[in-house]
């Protein structure tokens, strides 16, 4: 039973990590390897807002999300826009940004266990005999609400529909007057905001450590590859698959195998069905 509950929580956590990355890649085909770095950075921004500048918590949260969105857009406008379209250069550039941010934070002294964010709601409750923090329940609730909200957003608002159009067929969208660079900036801003939302929800459950930047990136990529690019359903399903697989290995094998599960999931997917579970792109079939 506790496997079910912890599995669900872990799965929603993974989905939260992956949403921002999936959005940016789905819309503008930009593999944003700086995703994990943005996650950690927004955690530290929130911490600084609360502790260094002494702002109150709700204001800090809003401020962090806005600042992170701006940082994401800046990353795109300053760097990634110049290498748009060259897949390998995009990866190298965004990875270099990630390294600069993460290792820069590490050098700047953000090390150790002292950096924490307070949870939104403290205390815990008991579900079916398993003790669960309110914060974790909040994570699940917000995660589910977020997926629902994003679905509505991309199906019923102008910007959302523009993003979807961009994701489906860039040239057609361009012909209809949707500017691909503007959409990419919007996607990066939204993706970064989703990353910071994930950070704000999840970091109170532990400490803010630079290492989690790499972990988040790997897990987000794993979810997107297993689920297939361009599919919300696939990403959510993949998050649940990997999430439960991780919890099962923790229970039966040991806590340190978690990341191995992610890597194995990626390798298995690449061997068996490279376009992912619900991949909409024919990754391998090129028009000859």
């Amino acid at each position: 039973m506790d496997i079910l509950i912890y599995g669900t929580i872990n799965s929603v956590t993974l989905a939260l990590y992956a949403l921002g990355f999936a959005l940016v890649y789905g819309v503008s085909r930009l593999p944003n390897f700086a995703h994990g770095a943005i996650y950690v950075l927004s955690g530290f921004i929130a911490w600084s807002a609360v502790n260094t500048f002494g702002l109150n918590y709700p204001v800090s949260i809003v401020l962090t999300m806005v600042v992170t969105a701006l940082i994401g857009s800046a990353i795109y406008l300053l760097f990634l826009i110049r290498v748009r379209g060259m897949a390998i250069s995009e990866i190298i550039a965004s990875y270099a940004i990630a390294l600069a941010i993460l290792e820069g934070l590490r050098w700047g002294g953000f090390k150790g266990m002292t950096y924490t964010l307070p949870p939104f709601v403290s205390g815990s409750t008991s579900i079916a005999g398993v003790s669960v923090d309110y914060q974790r329940l909040l994570v699940v609730a917000v995660g589910a609400a977020l997926v629902g909200f994003l679905w509505v957003f991309t199906h019923h608002t102008r910007i959302g529909l523009a993003l979807r159009g961009m994701a489906q067929d860039e040239r057609a969208a361009l012909m209809l007057g949707i500017d691909s660079d503007v959409m990419a900036v919007v996607a990066m801003a939204l993706g970064s905001m989703l990353a910071s939302l994930a950070a704000l929800l999840l970091l109170p459950l532990g400490n803010i450590v630079v290492e989690s930047g790499y972990n988040v990136l790997i897990l987000a990529i794993a979810v997107c590859i297993v689920g297939g690019i361009g599919s919300w359903v696939g990403a959510v399903l993949a998050a649940f698959l990997i999430g439960f697989a991780q919890i099962l290995t923790v229970v039966y094998l040991g806590a340190h195998y978690q990341m191995v599960v992610a890597l194995l999931a990626i390798i298995l997917t690449l061997i068996l069905k490279p376009s992912g579970l619900f991949g909409q792109q024919k990754e391998l079939e090129e028009r000859v």
Binding site: A87, Y95, A96, E103, L270, P274
Partner: protein, 339 residues
């Protein structure tokens, strides 16, 4: 030609001596021979003479490290520009080769002179096997997987506490003599550099370059693209494992830091600075970057920030790199031509 419009354009033409040295005509005179041989001679003599020019334990160590990184940079340049696969995780090869050589030496008691070659080939095979799933797919996946392997392997070793865990494997024999320790890696760098330059102009090398340019055409020519990519990866991985094997015997220790980020990022930064595609450029880039990074070692992970910023700058602003610029200046001259 149009009438004089008062505008000019820049024209680049091969130098006369470059044209005269094409093919057999290089033997026409001493001057032509010198034009071809001199740069290579400078490089060889320079590298071989480094240990003598900079005596002292500290500098010997630095030179060895430069050569290890040079091997990794050569691997990156070879894989990225001649096979079309961008390897973001050179540390994967170094770590595999290093640990294999350490195990062969410590557990089986083999001499380092035996461990290194065995670790090279075995490590190359192991790495190629592990990378096999992503070879039939687009290059993006190779980049992602090579990125993740060193990060994950380091964590696995740490978490499972196998292969020495966080302490690493200690008590590895060093190379038989001090001279060998200094010169082995330098000679290896020269051999690999000139070997790879030869390789990319052979028929096999042409096939690998064709796989990079146009893999559909290679398929239509009845050749298995995945096989040739694996061959390219095997060559690259073996050289990387060679570097790792040498490393652990120089340091006499193998640990998690053999999977460190430095081994992944510095070769890439060195390649972009030195000039990608030239194979000589990456070596030069290492000669520049590694001493700088040693100086920055006191500042903790600032050096990684430093490499990443350089990498970012060169990638985003698409600068050529030193050797590309240098080769152009050496082989061609420019002049204004009125239009």
């Amino acid at each position: 030609m149009n009438a004089e419009s008062g505008q000019r354009r820049r024209e680049r033409i091969d130098r006369g001596i470059k044209v005269r040295t094409a093919g057999l005509y290089a033997l026409m005179s001493w001057r032509e021979l010198a034009y071809l041989i001199l740069p290579r001679l400078v490089l060889i003599v320079g590298l071989l003479g480094l240990p003598m020019a900079m005596p002292g334990m500290y500098w010997q160590r630095v030179i060895s490290i430069v050569c290890i990184y040079a091997l990794l940079a050569l691997v990156f340049d070879f894989l990225a520009h001649f096979v079309g696969l961008v390897s973001l995780g050179g540390a994967f090869f170094v770590g595999t080769g290093g640990y294999l050589s350490a195990l062969l030496n410590v557990k089986l008691g083999l001499s380092p002179l035996l461990c290194v070659p065995v670790a090279t080939l075995l490590g190359g095979a192991v790495c190629t096997l592990l990378l096999l799933p992503c070879l039939p797919l687009r290059g993006v996946y190779f980049a992602i997987v090579t990125l993740m392997y060193p990060l994950l392997l380091a964590r696995v070793i740490e978490a499972l506490n196998i292969l020495g865990g966080t302490d690493g494997i200690m008590g590895i024999d060093s190379l038989p003599s001090a001279w060998m320790e200094q010169y082995l890696v330098i000679v290896l760098v020269l051999v690999v550099l000139f070997g790879l330059r030869r390789l990319v102009n052979t028929d096999l090398g042409l096939v690998l370059r064709a796989v990079k340019d146009n893999d559909q055409a290679v398929r239509a020519s009845a050749m298995n693209v995945t096989f040739y990519k694996s061959l390219g990866v095997f060559i690259g991985a073996s050289i990387g494992c060679l570097a790792g094997a040498c490393l652990v015997h120089i340091y006499m220790w193998a640990g998690i830091s053999t999977f460190a980020l430095d081994f992944s990022v510095l070769p890439i930064a060195a390649t972009v600075i030195g000039g990608s595609g030239t194979l000589v450029g990456p070596v030069l880039g290492c000669l520049i970057l590694v001493p700088v990074s040693e100086l920055l070692r006191d500042f903790g992970t600032l050096r990684i920030v430093f490499y990443s910023l350089i990498l970012l700058g060169f990638t985003v602003f698409r600068s050529e790199g030193l050797m590309v610029f240098g080769q152009r200046k050496y082989h061609q001259f420019e002049r204004w031509k009125s239009i």
